[in-house]
Symmetry: C2
Subunit: 389 residues, 2 copies
């Protein structure tokens, strides 16, 4: 990557939270694309290319699957799942590793599904044994996994869970909430036989918030096509959007609702940058940076919220505050040093920890030295707040 | 307004369709705002200011009402109405002046409401007598009006219809689809006693697509609060978003789903430009340009789709092709001259007409001469296509 991606940007605090992340100049320039008709040949090509590159990001080549990019947010991805893949009264198994599983379950219930939550202790994952036992008790239409829970930094082993589900309950759809994982954690959509992975642009994809992005498998789309009830949402209906995505990817315009032209341009710009290097290298770079941050944090005597080695996110770190240091004291001290970190989100421990996001250009462009600055700011601020390292 | 708003933009065809419209440099620069945390004091202020200025755009001062700006699209506004203000089995009266009423009715039915459509002939409005008769037949929870139907350019008299509904059925909520009207047609939300006006940014608000924007009255919010069933959508739930909007407007961050930071910056930039001159002046400028375009089109011997004088949109014109000229021949000729116009959208007549959008900076900055160029391009292209004016 070029040396100074942010050279064209106005001076601003470094946003090192688990999304939105820092953006490259090219992505921000694409956000400022002059007006373009949403059905113009120019835009049709851009949208089609973005959908095709999303397949590469998900390591998908099976054309029965379809990628989607729709004006909205990561949250809207839950509506797509709950209103198209679950019918009223059907059971959904929600694996809980933090805040976001509660919300996903709430969404499923909104559309008439019956969520059963399998909860891990805070900072831990649900065991394969627990999943096995639950799957044997009854038939679930879907199983949802939060790949990385942004509230805790817990990383779930979606490959093993997907294999387990397929072995015990072959028809159950495997749904991955990849909001804080797509672009930083390995996801082999076809090879791991996943059914839907949803995400948002403002994390490891490196594009401003404003899109709901997902890929649905041929199996998932067949389940949708076999629905007895019509989709339970209008805006989040596969029936409305599937033909639109197929059409744009086939280089033909089509209309249901005006797509966010500039956000799609930005998505394409970022996907081109991401896919210019092998994905394995990208994941390795994030893993190295994550290791460095986690070991430095440990050297400060601080503990992670995600307690189990091997089940810690590579794109973020959730860190318990030391005794006697308040969040409301520490974060402003770090902010004064030009670094924006995030507070806690998991409601049971929200005031007891802070979060560092390490995704995207701040990681891949080491010349920026974003995390040298951030780790120094954390260390100095802790000292100022009275914590001796 | 400054003389050359597009000076910083790369050369591009003029997009003169009924949305997306041309954007000002300031709006595009705001789209490229460097990363910012969605809960940072800087962004909280921007979001709060945008929500407050939206009130001005809707001529609202009653604080029981609330403005909303949410990642999505104009279409998503229908989901907000249908899933929060109508309960399963309740009746909705949908006034039909083109393509978009069919879609709104489809959305209402998706969430269990019972839409009754009152259809005008193509190009005409529903009469007040017809509305009166229908309202007297049964109790409707809501009446929906497409202020300007983007498929036909028909302008409905929402002030008179709202007064009629209030007189005959005081509890019925008056819902205005203002996607192609907010920012160009007069809308006095408080004074006309409206209950919800929804819109999208890429038309007369002059901001790239990617937001669902609306205002809901105190009465509408009370109806929502009195629901027996929970909201029928998750992402489009007032229960989720109302506290968020109230919080940001009160200058406090709050989280349900990450807002589209850059799009909100762009919204604020445009609202500041719009509200720098009195709204009455803005509406008058659009009316003058609309008159000029419509009379020029008439002087070419062409007819509008919107047949009734006084019920023609001020922000767009839908024009029937002359005998012997095909849309697929004419639009490319106009495009070769650097002007992008839109084809037809109303399915019964889609190939028989084209549409010109005249909203935003292309209208308010006469020095751009966008419509001198467009009208000349239309005239020349018609001649080239064999139509003698």
């Amino acid at each position: 990557m070029a040396k100074s991606e942010t050279s064209a940007q106005a001076p601003h605090p470094l946003t090192l939270i688990p999304g939105p992340v820092e953006f490259t100049d090219e992505v921000l320039a694409a956000m400022a694309t002059p007006s373009q008709s949403h059905v113009s040949p120019q835009f049709v090509e851009v949208f089609g290319d973005a959908l095709a590159l999303l397949r590469q990001l998900f390591m998908n080549t099976d054309k029965r699957a379809q990628t989607f990019a729709i004006a909205g947010a990561g949250t809207l991805g839950w509506d797509f799942v709950a209103s198209n893949l679950v019918e009223p009264g059907e059971d959904a198994l929600v694996l809980h590793t933090g805040y976001f599983a509660d919300s996903f379950a709430d969404c499923i219930a909104t559309y008439g599904g019956k969520p059963t939550q399998l909860k891990a202790p805070i900072g831990d994952v649900v065991t394969l044994d627990a999943i096995t036992n639950t799957l044997k008790q009854k038939k679930f239409k879907i199983v949802t996994i939060t790949h990385v829970d942004t509230s805790t930094g817990v990383l779930s082993d979606i490959k093993s869970i997907a294999a387990l589900v397929r072995a015990i309950s072959p028809e159950t759809l495997v749904i991955v909430d990849g909001v804080c994982s797509v672009g930083v954690e390995e996801i082999r959509f076809d090879e791991w036989d996943l059914d839907l992975v949803l995400t948002a642009p403002q994390k490891a994809i490196g594009v401003p918030a404003g899109l709901s992005i997902f890929i649905a498998s041929g199996r998932a789309l067949d389940v949708f096509r076999a629905r007895k009830a019509p989709p339970a949402s209008y805006y989040a209906s596969f029936a409305k959007w599937l033909p639109i995505m197929q059409s744009y990817e086939a280089n033909k315009p089509s209309y249901f609702s005006t797509p966010p032209v500039q956000n799609i341009h930005a998505l394409l710009a970022s996907l081109k940058q991401i896919l210019a290097v092998p994905l394995a290298d990208r994941f390795a770079a994030h893993a190295r940076m994550s290791d460095r941050i986690k070991s430095t944090i440990a050297s400060y005597g601080l503990k992670q919220v995600a307690i189990r080695e091997g089940y810690q996110a590579n794109g973020m770190t959730a860190v318990y505050l030391p005794e006697g240091v308040a969040l409301s004291d520490l974060l402003p001290r770090i902010a004064k040093r030009g670094i924006v970190l995030a507070g806690g989100l998991h409601k049971e421990i929200a005031t007891k920890y802070f979060r560092i996001g390490h995704m995207g250009v701040s990681v891949t462009d080491e010349d920026r030295e974003d995390f040298d600055k951030a780790l120094a700011a954390i260390k100095e601020s802790l000292a100022e707040a009275g914590y001796a390292i």
